[in-house]
């Protein structure tokens, strides 16, 4: 069943939309959740929350690419869950590892003003990503959007783990100087 048909089921408030979504995108969403949470039960719950969020948001929202929309929901829900559960203690998930990696370039303490800058930051990240070669951009998005392990990124990009790590390191350094140039306080 294609995305359009699934979205139609949501629009018609047909509950089979949920089972079809689970069938088509279940493992995809679970992977995103597990990368963040590193816990099977938490990941399952996040995925279920994602289905519910999709049910509540479609309509009025009509996603053009359902997988991307669901992926975003799953990511946000999983991150929220992670933060709620591990506010004090970071567990060894890919999400936690990504945060540790990024602390090298973004080390200032959190503040309300900076929270307001997230969307602005997203704009600059988009600009930065535009400057990257396709392969580098894929590696970067794989790591910091999908929060995939380096090994997995290397596998689906068809490059070695060593190269993947090198690409990530260089891109982080480039990002750091790009954001500094644009006036972000890091």
């Amino acid at each position: 069943m294609c995305d359009e048909d699934i979205v139609k089921l949501y629009q018609l408030r047909d509950e089979t939309a949920l089972s079809v979504t689970q069938e088509v995108y279940g493992s995809y969403l679970y992977k995103i959740a597990y990368n963040i949470l590193s816990d099977r039960q938490d990941s399952d719950e996040s995925v279920n929350d994602t289905y519910l969020a999709a049910w509540n948001s479609i309509p009025p929202h009509l996603p053009a690419v359902l997988s991307t929309y669901l992926g975003k929901l799953a990511r946000r829900i999983s991150i929220d869950r992670f933060r709620r559960k591990h506010r004090q203690k970071r567990i060894g998930s890919e999400y936690a590892t990504s945060i540790t990696e990024l602390e090298g370039i973004l080390s200032s303490p959190q503040s309300p003003e900076e929270l307001a800058e997230v969307k602005l930051l997203a704009e600059y990240i988009n600009r930065f990503l535009q400057t990257l070669p396709k392969e580098t951009r894929r590696v970067f998005i794989g790591r910091y959007y999908f929060l995939d392990p380096v090994k997995d990124i290397a596998a689906y990009c068809g490059i070695s783990e060593g190269k993947t790590k090198t690409v990530l390191h260089r891109t982080r350094e480039k990002l750091k100087s790009f954001l500094q140039k644009e006036g972000f306080s890091l």
Partner: protein, 198 residues
């Protein structure tokens, strides 16, 4: 800002890129395909290099080829040390560098203006239908008459002679063996043998 904000901001990146990576995650690049591509690229590079070398040889080697000394050669009177050849027992020259079928257009002072009909057994810089000057520096006498139309006869003599318009009138198609004169400004062929048959 801290790193959590960064990961939050990543949620707002261009959806097209997200979809691109999502697609890649679903259909990873096959290692086999990657290696096949790499091998293909290497093979293509080798092939290009090979063709390049052959092409350069085609451009440069003929220019020097005629100037190389050959044992027992006879120099062409018109071209400095160019039209070398080696006589053999049967009167046929040992190194037939280039064989062409030509149609004789005109004769003048022992030199024929001819049109290339076919290049038989060697690569050449000339094209079919191209007009060339042909001089016969020292022709081994292996001709057979067009009237008899027989197989190539045994040489009657090892002596050389220069054919004339009487031997091969205008319009006749003959085979010539020899080399292009690299020193001439126009396409000029120094023939050391000619025959109406191959």
């Amino acid at each position: 800002m801290n790193s959590e904000h960064f990961l939050d901001a990543m949620a707002y990146i261009d959806e097209e890129w997200i979809e691109d990576v999502a697609l890649l995650r679903r259909n990873p690049k096959s290692i086999t395909v990657i290696w096949i591509r790499r091998v293909a690229v290497i093979a293509a590079c080798i092939a290009i290099t090979f063709v390049g070398v052959i092409a350069l040889r085609g451009i440069f080697i003929p220019a020097f080829d005629g100037a190389l000394p050959v044992a027992g050669h006879t120099e062409s009177p018109e071209s400095n040390n160019f039209c070398e050849y080696t006589d053999t027992d049967d009167g046929i020259l040992a190194h037939s560098e280039l064989c062409m079928a030509i149609r004789i257009d005109t004769w003048e002072n022992g030199t024929a203006t001819a049109t290339v009909v076919e290049v038989i057994d060697a690569e050449s810089a000339v094209d079919i239908h191209q007009s060339i000057e042909v001089y016969f520096a020292d022709i081994a006498n292996t001709t057979d008459s067009e009237e008899s139309n027989t197989e190539e006869s045994e040489p009657e003599s090892s002596e050389s002679y220069a054919p004339t318009e009487e031997d091969y009138p205008n319009g006749s198609v003959v085979y010539v063996w020899g080399k292009f004169d690299a020193t001439a400004s126009t396409p000029t062929f120094c023939a050391y043998r000619m025959s109406t048959t191959l």
